[in-house]
C-alpha cells in the first residue's frame, strides 16, 4: 500500500520534473542552493546569498508589475522602504516581536500598494514613471526632514532591529536566515510564477500589449491593475522587512532612486517578463558585484560608485543587443532540446510502465 503510494508519487514527480528540462534545471539549482552551506562557507558569503535571495523576491515582484502588466514603475523602493520602516517603527514604538511585526508590515506595504495605485491608474507611460518615481523621493525627503527626527532618526534610520532567530548562536543565525530566505524565495517565486501564468496573468499581459483593446473586450482593467500593484507591493514589502531584520537597520537609502534601479538591472540581466529571469539575475548581480568587482578587480573604496556605472552600461548594451536576457536564452535552448526528441521517447520509462499497467 505504502510502496504503491510512494512509487506513484515518485513516478508522478519524475514525469513532472525530470522529464521537462527547464524544471529539471530548476530542481538541480534548488538542490545546489540547499546543499551549498555544507561547503562550510563563511558568514560573508552566506550574507551575500541571503541578500541575493531577498533581492530576487524584490526583482521578481517588479517583473510581475512591469514585465507582465506593463505598469512601468521606477519607484519600487517605495514598497521595500515602507516594509522596512513599518516593521522598524512597530518594533521601536510598540516593542512588537519580529514574527508579529513582519506580517503587519507586509499588510501595510500591500495597502500602500493599493493607495499608490490610485494616482497611477489615471496615468500611463512616461507619466506613470515619474509619478512612481516621485513617491519614494518625497518619502525619503520626509524621513530625512529635521522636524521629524524623533520618529525616523533622519539619515541614520531605525537601528538595532532584532534578528529572526535570537535564540541561536551567530553562526547558526546566519545559516538559519539563509534557509529561511531560501524557503521564502522558493514559495514566493512559485506563487508569482503561478499568478503570471494563470488566467489573471494572461489578462495582465493583455494590459501590457494593448489596454484599450483589452478594455474593449470587456476586461475591467482598473481591477487588474490594482491587483498587479497590490501583489507586487506585497512581495516587495516582504523583501523589504526581511532585509531590514537581516541587516538590523531601516534607513533612507532603502528608498533611494538607485535602490529602485537595482531591480531594473537585475531583471534585464535575467530577461524581462519571465519571473524566473530576475531570480537568476539577482545571483549574477551579486556574483558580479561582490566577487568580480570586489575580489577579482579590486576597486578602491573611493571609486565604489563606479560599480553602478558598470551595471547600467551592461543594461544599456543588453537592451540594445540582447533584449531577451540570460535566463530566457537558457530556457529557449532547453525547449529546443525537448522539441528535438522523438514523441515516443518522451516521459521516463517508469511512468510508461506504470500507465501501461494501469490500463491493463
Amino acid at each position: 500500500m505504502v510502496a504503491t503510494y510512494l512509487r506513484r508519487a515518485y513516478s508522478s514527480f519524475a514525469a513532472h520534473v525530470f522529464d521537462i528540462p527547464p524544471r529539471l534545471l530548476v530542481f538541480l539549482v534548488l538542490l545546489l542552493l540547499v546543499a551549498l552551506p555544507v561547503a562550510k562557507l563563511d558568514d560573508y558569503v552566506l550574507g551575500i546569498l541571503i541578500s541575493a535571495n531577498l533581492l530576487a523576491i524584490f526583482a521578481a515582484s517588479w517583473d510581475l508589475l512591469v514585465g507582465r502588466t506593463g505598469q512601468m514603475s521606477l519607484g519600487h523602493a517605495l514598497f521595500f522602504g515602507i516594509g522596512a520602516y513599518s516593521t522598524g517603527l512597530l518594533f521601536e514604538n510598540f516593542g512588537f516581536p519580529v514574527w508579529v511585526s513582519v506580517p503587519i508590515a507586509v499588510l501595510v506595504g500591500t495597502s500602500i500598494g493599493f493607495l499608490v495605485c490610485f494616482p497611477c491608474l489615471r496615468v500611463k507611460g512616461p507619466y506613470l514613471v515619474l509619478v512612481t518615481m516621485a513617491f519614494p523621493i518625497i518619502l525619503e525627503a520626509l524621513f530625512k526632514w529635521a522636524p521629524l527626527n524623533d520618529i525616523f532618526h533622519g539619515e541614520l534610520g531605525i537601528r538595532k532591529l532584532p534578528s529572526f532567530f535570537p535564540f541561536l548562536k551567530i553562526q547558526g543565525q546566519v545559516l538559519a536566515e539563509y534557509y529561511f530566505t531560501l524557503t521564502l524565495l522558493f514559495f514566493s517565486s512559485i506563487i508569482l510564477y503561478k499568478i503570471a501564468n494563470s488566467h489573471t496573468g494572461i489578462v495582465f499581459v493583455s494590459i501590457l500589449d494593448d489596454d484599450v483593446s483589452s478594455r474593449a473586450s470587456g476586461i475591467n482593467i482598473t481591477k487588474y491593475k490594482l491587483m498587479a500593484f497590490a501583489i507586487s507591493g506585497l512581495f516587495a514589502s516582504l523583501a523589504g522587512c526581511i532585509t531590514a531584520h537581516t541587516l538590523k537597520v531601516a534607513n533612507p537609502p532603502m528608498l533611494s532612486l538607485s535602490w529602485s534601479f537595482i531591480p531594473v538591472i537585475v531583471t534585464f540581466l535575467g530577461g524581462i517578463g519571465t519571473i524566473y529571469g530576475p531570480l537568476l539575475g539577482a545571483y549574477i548581480y551579486f556574483i558580479l558585484d561582490r566577487y568580480v568587482l570586489t575580489i577579482l578587480v579590486d576597486i578602491p573604496y573611493e571609486l565604489v560608485y563606479t560599480k553602478l556605472m558598470v551595471f547600467t552600461l551592461i543594461v544599456v548594451i543588453l537592451i540594445l543587443k540582447w533584449p531577451r536576457g540570460l535566463a530566457r536564452f537558457t530556457t529557449d535552448k532547453l525547449q529546443d532540446l525537448e522539441e528535438a526528441r522523438d514523441i515516443d521517447e518522451r516521459g521516463p520509462k517508469i511512468w510508461k510502465t506504470y500507465t501501461k499497467k494501469k490500463k491493463k
Binding site: P126, L130, A141, V264, Y305, V316, I319
Partner: protein, 293 residues
C-alpha cells in the same frame, strides 16, 4: 514677502520654462520621453565651470557658455544616434535606456569631479534692488536671456522651414517621410536643440542661484520639467511657458512661507506633479493630452 514671491518667482519661472521646453520639444517631435534631460542640465553646468574663468580652460564667461552648450548638444546628438535611435518606438526600452544614461552621467561626474560641490562662476557679483527685493544681476541676465531664447525658439518653430518640418513630423511621421523630410536627421537635431536648452537652463540656475554643480543635480530638474510639462500639457510649447511660471511662483512661495522651507523646496515639483495628475490628468489648460499613438 509677496514682493519676494512675485519678483523671484518670475525670474526662476523664466528659467524653468526654458528647461522644460526642451523636454516637451523632443517628446512632441520624436515621441521620446527623455529621462536623461536633467543630465544635460547637469552636464551644461559642469562644462560651463570647466571652460569658465575658474576652471581648467580659462575662458571668458560668454565663450565658455557657448562652448559648453555646443559640447552638450554634440554629446546629446551622439547619444541619440548610438542608443535611443535604434529602439525608438519601444516605450519601455526608451524609458529604461534614458534612465540608464542619466545614471551613467551621474557616475561619470562623480568619477571625474569627485563627490564634492564644484564651484560655478557667476555672471556678475553685484546686485540691485527691485521693488524692495535684492536681486543679483546674474539672475536678471538669466531671466532676460531665457525669455529671449524662448521667443527665438518660438519663431524658429513657427516661421522657419526646419520648424515647419518638425511640426509636420509631430503631426504625422509617415506622411512627413513621404514628402521627403529626413526624420532621422531631424530627430537628432531636435535632440541637440532640446539638450542645449537644458544646458543653458543648467548654466543659468547653477551660476545665479546654487553657485555649485554636483553629481545628483539631474533628478530635481527632471522632476521640474515633468511637473511643468504635465501642468501645461505634454507636447505643447505654450502650456510649458505658463507652467514654468506657475512652478516658479509655487517654489518661491514654499521657500518663503514654510518653516525651514529651504529643506523641502525640492519636494515641490514632485508634489505638484502628483497633485495635478490626481486632479486634472489632462493638464491645467483643459487641452486633451494624447498619451496614445
Amino acid at each position: 514677502m509677496i514682493e519676494e514671491i512675485i519678483i523671484l518667482g518670475t525670474i526662476t519661472g523664466a528659467v524653468f520654462a526654458l528647461l522644460a521646453v526642451g523636454f516637451t520639444l523632443i517628446y512632441g517631435v520624436a515621441g521620446v520621453t527623455n529621462l536623461a534631460h536633467g543630465s544635460f542640465f547637469m552636464l551644461g553646468a559642469y562644462m560651463f565651470s570647466v571652460f569658465g574663468p575658474m576652471g581648467f580652460v580659462q575662458l571668458g564667461i560668454v565663450p565658455a557658455l557657448i562652448l559648453a552648450v555646443i559640447f552638450v548638444a554634440i554629446v546629446a546628438a551622439i547619444l541619440y544616434k548610438l542608443t535611443i535611435g535604434p529602439i525608438i518606438g519601444d516605450e519601455v526600452a526608451v524609458l529604461v535606456v534614458t534612465v540608464c544614461i542619466a545614471m551613467i552621467f551621474q557616475q561619470i561626474m562623480l568619477l571625474t569631479f569627485g563627490p564634492e560641490f564644484f564651484p560655478v562662476p557667476a555672471f556678475a557679483e553685484e546686485s540691485t534692488i527691485i521693488w524692495g527685493v535684492s536681486v543679483t544681476y546674474s539672475r536678471i541676465v538669466a531671466a532676460v536671456t531665457s525669455l529671449a531664447l524662448f521667443a527665438f525658439l518660438w519663431i524658429f518653430i513657427s516661421k522657419t522651414k526646419i520648424g515647419a518640418a518638425m511640426r509636420a513630423i509631430s503631426q504625422d511621421r509617415e506622411v512627413a517621410m513621404l514628402v521627403g523630410i529626413n526624420t532621422e536627421r531631424l530627430y537628432m537635431l531636435t535632440m541637440g536643440i532640446s539638450a542645449s536648452l537644458a544646458a543653458v537652463a543648467g548654466i543659468f540656475i547653477a551660476s545665479s542661484t546654487t553657485r555649485v554643480a554636483y553629481s545628483f543635480m539631474w533628478l530635481e530638474p527632471l522632476a521640474l520639467s515633468f511637473a511643468i510639462v504635465v501642468l501645461g500639457g505634454l507636447g505643447s510649447v505654450k502650456g510649458t511657458f505658463i507652467g514654468g511660471f506657475i512652478i516658479g511662483y509655487a517654489e518661491m512661495a514654499v521657500a518663503v512661507l514654510a518653516p525651514q522651507g529651504g529643506a523641502i523646496v525640492s519636494v515641490v515639483p514632485f508634489a505638484t506633479m502628483v497633485l495635478v495628475l490626481l486632479v486634472r490628468p489632462k493638464g491645467l489648460f483643459g487641452k486633451r493630452v494624447e498619451m496614445e499613438e
